[in-house]
Amino acid sequence: MIKGLLTTLREMFQQPVTIQYPEVKRPVRTRFKGRHVLKRYENGLEKCIGCSLCAAACPADAIFVESAENTDEERYSPGERYASTYEINMLRCIFCGFCEDACPTEAIVLGDNYELSFTDRHQSIYTKDMLLEPVPPGGKPTPQNTEPGKYTRSVPVMQDPQD
């Protein structure tokens, strides 16, 4: 019996395991799949070329993409086309990462944000402005005015994937 009481006594002086969530956040794993982020190149151009492969791969039909033509005066992404509308319904999305796998330019990446709760269904539709990451330092915001013949290739030369 004393042995059992000693266990109780020992537990009394241990730190509680509770994570005080809203103040302290447990860091997510490197391959955690949270809310999507649309990436940009270092010069500020969007990686997304509006090919809709993510929408085709999506098992829950959460993604809607509409594409439009790029011109050299108003260039959003390298190559011919860009996504003029990009919407993801977070209540449909099951965070499987198929869109990430399907993307030929690694434009869509599942990020770290898991705090997704809404009081209304309409709030759950994330538009392109909400998903795009901010312009990196040294880059220019889209649309950019570029010289003709510079961005002809829409899918870049890829390297080995990294986490």
Binding site: T18, C93, Y114
Partner: protein, 160 residues
Amino acid sequence: MGLEQKTGNLGVVTTSLEQVVNWARTNSMWPMLFGLACCAIEMMAAQAPAYDMSRFGMELMRASPRQSDLMIVAGRVSRKMAPVLRQLYDQMPDPKWVIAMGDCASCGGVFNNYAIVQGVDEVVPVDVYVAGCPPRPEGLIHGVMTLHEKVKREKLKDWA
């Protein structure tokens, strides 16, 4: 309730009463034990020591709807379960709130077929939708805090 009609224009009294009652409601909101699928595992994890939900006054899950204020619909609701869900909701005493936890409860998720209710808001009024498949325990707690924000904004004249 008719309190505002009786007291007339007593702004200070009614707003402070409003705050006190809303404070009490947010800080002791007992959820109902209503796990239907995989989201229930995360709901259990949110109650477990690591993300102790009793920090928010959710001391324990009540198995009886008559003792609970909040229904966390955790998981997909089949067509056969929908009348049960509605009956349990009707048995809960007012005031009552509903959280649709996860994609399936919110809008059907991947289960776009005839067997699954495409969102529990077909059956009961939903206050907060939590996205994720399943949401992390933090995600559920974030949804609970969103609900708390909503409850704190509730007005006295809407109680009646």
